[in-house]
């Protein structure tokens, strides 16, 4: 099977359809046509740029630019986790918690997969490293953002209950325990649902891509299984790290609940 190349005309047809949707949004007074077009433009530019960058990286195969790209991806993911919070941690903690937990989960899982499972040599071979890392970052990001958002939102709403427990002599860990468990559960539910629906309701993007580019379906399925399992582990690890650091940060050294460390929405 050979790869069918997409021409500019092919892409223009898809772009025209998006323009049509924007027109419809204008006609129906949805007010999202501007956002829609900007987002579409962004995805076109970003993906073409990524294609160019990857092309260069693949040909040179030098470790430093590849590592620089992974760090850039990590920074953007950390920023995205922060941007989705209604009440963020003030200062460097806002972006730091997301970035650190993404680093712990996605980076370690990607390296593990490259080293032990796929056994790529050298480990920074961009053809494997970048897509794997991208998929892990992109998918664990939302779980982490949901978990953190739930943590800060519940702490804000249930301030009285948390302080009632502190007043009666419970330590911070017990006082926020139930809220923390609830936040972690909420962060893990999307990936649990995704795994349960995989292949029955949804055809995952990576598998689709591999099949379209001519891989045997069973090989594509195996890769997809590995990715889904890794994403689940990454999301769980990352959410645990993020929620643990976040919940600790909500209390000071005298175990007082410090909601003033969160910004207002």
């Amino acid at each position: 099977m050979t790869l069918i190349h997409l021409s500019t005309v092919d892409l223009s047809i898809a772009a025209l359809l998006v323009l049509g949707l924007a027109g419809l949004s204008w006609k129906l007074q949805l007010g999202v046509e501007r956002q829609l077009l900007i987002a579409a433009m962004r995805s076109i530019v970003q993906l073409l740029l990524l294609g160019l960058v990857l092309k260069t990286l693949f040909t040179h195969n030098a470790p430093l630019p590849i590592i620089a790209l992974t760090l850039f991806m990590l920074g953007v993911a950390g920023y995205e986790v922060m941007a989705r919070q209604k009440r963020r941690f003030k200062g460097a903690w806002g972006i730091g918690i997301g970035t650190l937990s993404m680093f712990v989960s996605s980076f370690s899982i990607t390296l593990l997969a490259l080293h032990l499972v796929i056994q790529v040599d050298p480990w920074y071979t961009p053809q494997y490293l970048i897509p794997l890392l991208g998929m892990l970052l992109g998918n664990t990001m939302s779980g982490m953002a949901i978990a953190l958002d739930n943590l800060t939102k519940s702490a804000w709403q249930e301030r009285g209950t948390i302080e009632a427990r502190l007043i009666l002599g419970d330590n911070w860990n017990i006082a926020i325990g139930e809220i923390r468990r609830e936040a972690l559960r909420s962060g893990l539910i999307p990936i649990i649902n995704a795994m349960a629906a995989a292949g029955v309701v949804s055809l995952p993007g990576m598998m689709t891509g591999q099949i379209l580019s001519g891989s045997p379906p069973l090989e594509a399925a195996k890769y997809q299984i590995m990715i889904l399992l890794l994403i689940a582990v990454g999301t769980g690890l990352g959410a645990i790290v993020a929620v643990w650091i976040g919940s600790r940060r909500l209390f000071d050294e005298r175990q007082r609940l410090r909601l003033d460390r969160l910004s207002s929405p």
Binding site: R165, I167, L168, R254, R256
Partner: protein, 200 residues
Amino acid sequence: MSGLELKQFEGPGLLPIDLKIEPGECVSLTGVSGSGKTRLLRAIADLDPHQGDALVAGQSMLGMPAPDWRRQVGLLPAESHWWCDQVGEHFTNPASQLLGDLGLDGDCLEWQVSRISSGERQRLALARLLDRQPTVLLLDEPTANLDPENTAHVEQLILRYAKAHGAAVLWVSHDPLQRKRISQRRLQIVDSRIIAEASA
């Protein structure tokens, strides 16, 4: 001997104070709303950042972990919060004697928190606090939602507890008659300063 001592203690928005409450002594505190009574009690319970030191039985709050401090310094906030479904799950020991003294049924421990009235809530919150046997009581209007009969129950119980356990009591109250009934000393907050209340 227990007792509460504040040394150059500076609650949020208040000037530094020195105050000593002897074991078994009850001191009342009043002041217009927003004057900082609740903030002072919260700071003594170490729930808010503050300056200066507080001691119970000669032991500084800075010398012990915050949960240990809060177990000794029992704060009763104006509004109570509950985290389990059933009332009894918030108690550490069965406290039937305590509940009877507050005019509550013995089976109230099996009640659902969501179904109790505000007056019952207030008395149960007090029972929940005394159940843990603190050596200092910081009470923020403990009888605000109660009828005269239950107010009398609560006043008697607190004074009896203070006597029996040698507990120092700081009692915020808006009712001048109540302040006279319960306290040996009466204080008020005026312009961020804590001074003796002028006798009426």
